[in-house]
Symmetry: C2
Subunit: 331 residues, 2 copies
């Protein structure tokens, strides 16, 4: 049996047997290191030609994105970053400049969040590969898990979805978006190349939850798309959802460059926007959206069914079941 016969999810299921069930399955592993604080840990591996490519993203932005993806996983758990390690496999004829630019990009992103690179490894390989592990600290009673959502809670997307996917399209396809202004074009490309992990959202979340007096929240990041995040949280929490397609925060400019269906597709399945998707009681959700501002939006509600419906409050489209299978599969 080959890996391709069982796919990424099949392989992950088999490998999770080797891990403690209570720890794996969220954006980060969380381990209590003392009575009040836990260590949150996340790791990502990136392979040349699979996860980055000089065709769309030079080494500086490949490094930035790698750092941002890991910090986003920490944010999704409610953790403050402590440090990262970076292990790097390069070929003998890889340009030193490429490697240094990758580190420059990674460091530029990390410095915005005061996070040092504290270690690593450098080895030889025919394929340039990077593995980043990030650790953060989270107070034990402030860990944001996927499995804590309750029926009736509102679903918040902390910002625009689909912009990273549109930026990738601009990089891949010179025919696309020729009617865009330079500013709009640059902004979509930057959404792809230089995403910002939403660690800034955490302070707002704590403030709201503290004044509500209860830790009512579940969440994850939208690295694999908004639809994926909603579905994963619903499954982990044993709830369903109604998601209103008219409320999904997509870039205004989409109406000028893609069809309504494509815009929705990118907003739900585009991925790599690195926003947070948070489920919380409606009053807290409204406060959160107001305080974050920008494109943050309540996109739906958790229900006590197990189905996840895509609805349309404008009444134009019929309801549909939201599925995972537009998501990215590694094999």
């Amino acid at each position: 049996m080959k890996v391709k016969d069982i796919g990424e999810q099949g392989l992950l299921r088999r490998l999770q047997k080797f891990c403690p069930a209570e720890i794996v399955g969220d954006d980060c592993a969380v381990m209590a290191t003392n009575p009040n604080q836990s260590l949150a840990i996340t790791t990502d591996m990136l392979v040349d030609g699979v996860h980055f490519s000089d065709r769309t993203t030079g080494p500086y932005y490949a490094g930035w994105r790698a750092a941002a993806a890991n910090l986003s996983d920490l944010a999704a758990m409610g953790a403050t970053p402590l440090a990262v390690t970076a292990a790097l496999a390069v070929a003998a004829d890889t340009a030193v400049e490429w490697v240094e630019e990758f580190y420059r990009g990674m460091t530029a992103c990390l410095q915005e969040y005061h996070t040092p690179i504290v270690g690593g490894d450098v080895v030889r390989s025919p394929v340039v590969t990077v593995a980043i592990t990030a650790f953060g600290q989270v107070e034990c009673d402030r860990t944001i898990s996927r499995s804590n959502a309750r029926s009736g809670w509102a679903i918040v997307a902390t910002g625009v979805h689909g912009a990273s996917r549109a930026g990738l399209e601009l990089l891949l396809n010179p025919e696309f978006g020729q009617n865009l202004t330079e500013v709009d074009r640059a902004s979509l490309i930057l959404a792809h190349q230089r995403p910002k992990p939403r660690l800034d959202v955490l302070a707002v979340v704590w403030e709201i939850l503290d004044s509500a007096g209860e830790f009512s929240i579940a969440g994850m990041d939208s690295s694999d798309g908004l639809a994926d995040a909603i579905i994963q949280i619903c499954r982990a929490s044993g709830v369903g959802a109604k998601v209103d397609r008219t409320q999904i925060p997509i870039p205004d400019i989409f109406s000028e460059i893609v069809s309504t269906e494509k815009a929705l597709d990118w907003g739900l399945y585009g991925g790599e926007d690195f926003e947070l998707v948070l489920f919380l009681p409606i009053t807290s959700a409204q406060l959160l959206v107001e305080k974050i501002g920008n494109a943050a939006a309540i996109v739906g509600t958790a229900t006590d069914s197990t189905d996840i419906w895509l609805t349309d409050s404008s009444g134009i489209c019929p309801d549909a079941i939201l599925k995972l299978d537009r998501g990215f599969q590694h094999f």
Copy 2:
């Protein structure tokens, strides 16, 4: 400029500019997480055909060795393991059984030290690649660094050196060691395939240092060879050393299978024995060797010169300067 033009050390030096100078450069990064305890972090990347090969070591032992190497780095800092993460890149036609055997071997080693795999990543790549990050806890006043050695201290090797290299030779070269008994052959092969990180040594070290009343110790592990460890510690501490070639603990059986020169070469430069190399005051060193037993030995003394001499207390060989350049270079 290509990576091969500056080599592994050259690339590492350039990349260390991106890391805080006070943290990098030892077996692990160590970060204080509260007033008494630090987090020790180490990461290794392993590439098919470079760091493991089905020719010498099937997936089970490749997994064991990967885990052992990381736990050995924790032991070298005085840290108790907390957890590891494992990121894995596999090809679509990699056998699922290969991947599961790798995890089985990794878990078998980790379980001996009560260490769970708490997270990971699985991605696609043309070249099977594994990145492991291990975390441990160390009391702030018990961190074993490379840079604390003092002139006059004794140099302890906690066990046999060269056995792993001999085991590799047996696996690579069917002509070699044909006069060995099955038991001796198996024991050398296991030294290569199933090395044991010396976390057991730490309890003995703490007991001795506590009764001595002072934290006088420096050290690292001998993953890159005994000579490398001695030289790295001397450089980091600004001391020299005299190493007595007759005191290096090599397997007794070497006298029957290799020349005296080859035996010394493997003992000094073989690598991957994953023992600890510890510098400490002579009284503590003698106690340590006695309590650990087996092949543990005092192999030399730190001096206030900066040269590192290989001496011969039997008077047969002339003194020579101990050099790094028999060590493994990745590029």
